[in-house]
């Protein structure tokens, strides 16, 4: 089959003009074999294992990028939830040492984020979970590349409110320990409901227990390409627009499938999934908010935003699912405020509030993402915000997460910068009424019915 010149130009235009890229090739890695009672022994094994594979990952991905001419932005590693290894540690051994080992090996291998400093506690803590969660603020303050996530709820078992109460305190403490970086430690910490165990995107990546020894997962991207499609369909109705978005999503995901297959073959590692998420970056034109605005909203956050987002992400999923043999991870639209220039603008102009953002997360993944709130927000209020978002995920049988930064010493209207990767965002106002008595009740909210769905 011959490829027309027009088709070749379309691909080149996608890459050169519309910021199309493969956002991440993430190697999932089982570390259970590194569990040891002594933290230093476990840490040494972790370092060896990661360095062993990471160097090959970087080389192979560089080669693929060069050969196919498709930018692949990140090479990342997701590991077994470290809480499982923490269970093996003898009393008195420091869980944080395992976190530092992840950081050292990732940095040595040139990997910018490593995910899996994680615990799954939707039903309760094991001793290892406890030790891990208590060490999160320290680890996020002492390391650069380590990402942490805690699953506090699922549609199957309900919501662990004790854990949500604790996570409010952990988020707050992480912000305080990373005060010099505007609380950037919190940008590497996600509190999840229904966490996917094969998600390639940070900060929520981990290598869950049902996964193989090693696995390659791909995160595609391309809000800029979708934006261009929407702009070309200016006066068409939404059915036609949905069809056009589907076609574009197919093309984008197809490249992800190709890169995944190649990487998997060259590394001799099983191919896991392509995650279809539309992931924005701070770069101009790489914004999900811009797509929504191109669909006819004056500003992202205006009435109609939730409906527009629902239609967008559904079309992306339909196109993507056709293009890849295995789809997984989060597969939704990310709406991280600080990493999306259009979102930042919408917040600054008062179009987008925390409450509207919460409503939007009911129809897309992955929840309240990279939201900056005033530094004086109480831990209980943060727990309340987390609980609301988690409830949306649990009741709607979908993943939701909260990545929220109570920027120390910052107030509503300030703009807080977290550096190139994490962007910068305006501090958003938080409802000033208290929820302490609710949060401090603790306990578990029972799982919802799986029928009677309305």
């Amino acid at each position: 089959m011959t490829i027309s010149a027009q088709e070749i130009l379309e691909t080149i235009r996608m890459i050169e003009v519309e910021n199309f890229d493969i956002r991440t090739v993430t190697l999932g890695m089982n570390l259970l074999g590194c569990a040891r009672p002594r933290a230093n022994e476990a840490a040494a094994l972790i370092r060896d294992r990661i360095l062993d594979h990471a160097a090959r990952l970087v080389k192979v991905v560089d080669d693929i990028q060069a050969e196919y001419g498709v930018p692949i932005i990140n090479r990342r590693i997701a590991v077994t939830p470290i809480a499982l290894l923490a269970n093996a540690l003898a009393p008195g051994e420091e869980c944080a040492e395992l976190g530092r080992a992840l950081d050292e090996s990732a940095r040595a291998a040139g990997i910018n984020f490593i995910g899996g400093y994680s615990a799954l506690v939707e039903k309760g803590y094991t001793l290892g979970d406890q030790r891990l969660i208590a060490s999160i603020p320290e680890v996020l303050a002492q390391t650069e590349t380590v990402c942490s996530s805690v699953n506090v709820a699922s549609s199957r078992v309900g919501i662990n409110m004790d854990a949500i109460r604790v996570m409010g305190g952990i988020v707050k403490e992480t912000a305080e320990l990373t005060q010099d970086k505007n609380g950037a430690g919190c940008a590497k910490l996600v509190v999840f409901a229904n966490v996917p165990e094969d998600n390639p995107f940070m900060a929520g990546a981990m290598h869950g227990v049902g996964q193989p020894e090693l696995v390659i997962n791909i995160g595609v991207s391309g809000p800029g390409v979708v934006l261009d499609t929407v702009r070309k369909q200016r006066s068409r109705d939404l059915g036609v627009l949905a069809e056009a978005i589907k076609r574009t999503a197919f093309k984008i995901t197809r490249v992800g499938q190709l890169v995944g297959q190649e990487a998997s073959q060259r590394l001799g590692v099983q191919f896991g999934v392509v995650d279809l998420s539309l992931a924005p970056t701070p770069a101009v034109g790489d914004s999900v908010a811009d797509i929504l605005e191109a669909m006819g909203l004056e500003k992202c956050g205006a009435p109609g935003t939730t409906a527009a987002l629902a239609m967008l992400i559904d079309a992306v999923k339909k196109g993507g699912a056709m293009a890849s043999s295995y789809v997984g991870g989060l597969s939704g639209a990310f709406i991280p405020v600080s990493e999306d220039a259009g979102m930042v603008r919408a917040v600054e102009q008062g179009a987008l509030t925390l409450e509207k953002l919460e409503a939007m997360t009911a129809v897309c993944s992955v929840g309240l993402d990279m939201v900056v709130i005033p530094g004086d927000t109480s831990a209980d209020t943060i727990s309340g915000i987390i609980a609301d978002e988690i409830a949306i995920g649990v009741i709607n049988h979908k993943t939701t997460g909260v990545r929220i930064v109570p920027a120390p010493g910052r107030h509503v209207g300030d703009v807080v910068d977290f550096g190139d990767l994490l962007g910068s965002g305006p501090v958003m106002p938080v409802n000033r009424f208290q929820c302490s008595d609710f949060v401090n009740r603790g306990g578990r909210i029972p799982a919802p019915l799986h029928s009677l769905r309305n």
Partner: protein, 199 residues
């Protein structure tokens, strides 16, 4: 009960000199540092202490404080210890349920059981069972007897909180008496009926 204590929690403990936490509690590094800076002694309770000690998770009594300047009252005013509530909460909930179901006859501290006797009527069934209960210091709260023709049926509500033998022994004793009398005797904790029949 496993708990994690963050800086947010310990900041409420400014009035404490010393805190005992539930077994298995883990503190974050900032929390540990804060407690050290504010000279609050922390002790993690032993597992068996947890089972019996009402004080776990509560600030220590004034007399146990190394210095008397901080009192327990101050602490309680602030309701500081949100940490170890889980286990206690759950038990309270059960107890509330039972009390609600007890139609007024139960006071805290009672341990109620139901004894059921079924079989062919004959002289001395009640006498035999009740004398056995009296000897074991079991208080009879209520008794209900019916005859369906020849069939004798008796239900007895008893309080075994003051009994000087364990439940299992008492149960075996009344059941043995039943064998002697050629009737069927059952002894069960009251809660099973409450749970089955009260929503």
């Amino acid at each position: 009960m496993h708990t994690i204590v963050t800086l947010h929690d310990v900041r409420h403990w400014t009035a404490c000199r010393s805190v005992i936490l539930h077994p298995g509690t883990v503190l974050t590094s900032s929390a540990r540092q804060w407690l050290a800076e504010h000279q609050v002694a922390v002790q993690i309770a032993e597992a068996d202490q947890h089972a019996t000690g009402e004080r776990v998770g509560q600030p220590m009594q004034k007399s146990e404080l190394s210095s008397g300047e901080v009192t327990q009252d101050k602490v309680i005013d602030r309701e500081p210890v949100s940490v170890p509530q889980g286990a206690a909460r759950e038990t309270d909930l059960l107890r509330d349920d039972l009390q609600a179901d007890a139609s007024g006859d139960a006071a805290a501290g009672m341990q109620r059981a139901i004894i059921t006797v079924l079989g062919k009527d004959r002289v001395g069934i009640i006498a035999r069972v009740t004398s056995l209960l009296a000897a074991a210091h079991v208080n009879i709260l209520d008794i209900n007897q019916t005859l369906f023709g020849d069939l004798f049926s008796m239900n007895m509500a008893v309080d075994i909180s003051a009994a000087d033998v364990p439940f299992a022994e008492l149960k075996a004793a009344v059941e043995d008496a039943g064998v002697e009398l050629q009737v069927k005797v059952l002894m069960q904790r009251r809660a099973v009926f409450d749970y089955m029949h009260r929503v």
